[in-house]
């Protein structure tokens, strides 16, 4: 096995060692691509966060308080799950690359699909049944 500290250029800290575990450093381009994907998930989470706040702040005239709170809490909960899950997705992909194993499937993708679909369904039902 290749010498880890020699490949890393001495840049590894104790935290990195503990979090990433064993294996060898992958191509830096793969590491940077994984970081960019993580940031894309974080931006998705921030968009959901802003959406949740917007529903609560701007929809007072349109939605009743119960529906408004439910949709806002759903969006904010989804933002929490996606934000936290994006770290574990990043970590699992990084560990897999270091051990030259197949990349894991991201569980946050179905969570986002189901959560987004649920919120969209609630809004559709509301638009269809609300009195004009």
């Amino acid at each position: 096995m290749e010498n880890l500290s020699a490949r890393s250029g001495g840049g590894r800290t104790g935290i990195s060692d503990r979090v990433l575990g064993g294996g060898t450093e992958p191509d830096p381009r793969f590491t940077l691509a994984n970081e960019r994907t993580f940031l894309a998930w974080i931006r998705t989470s921030l968009a959901l966060l802003a959406g949740g706040v917007a529903v609560e702040a701007f929809m007072a005239d349109l939605f009743g308080p119960g529906l408004r709170k439910t949709v806002a809490a759903l969006l904010l909960g989804l933002a929490l799950l996606i934000g936290g899950g994006s770290f574990f997705r990043w970590l699992n992909v990084e560990r897999s690359m270091r051990r030259k194993q197949p990349l894991p499937l991201p569980w946050i993708a179905p969570v986002l699909a189901i959560g987004g679909g649920l919120v969209a369904a609630i809004m559709t039902v509301f638009v269809l049944v609300r009195p004009v």
Partner: protein, 94 residues
Amino acid sequence: MAWGRTILSLTVAAAIFLRWMHHHGWFVGTLVAAAAVAALAINVTRKRRFHRAINGIKREALTPNVASIAAVTASVVVLASLGIFTVLLIPLEQ
């Protein structure tokens, strides 16, 4: 650029939180401050991260930036948790 786009997203989130202060009072100020501080911290450390990435590509060895990634995750998780707390437990002021 990915970090720059994240700064922009955090700034937009901070601006939307600002609108929320009207409904939920001063507590939302902590969310505005948290989002703004996170955006500022990313901006301040951006140059260092860029040079680190460039050097890593040049040397063909790059250690993942665990601390930055953990810090961004923590910021978003804290913002979302405080947001849920605000929606469910802090009454509307109007």
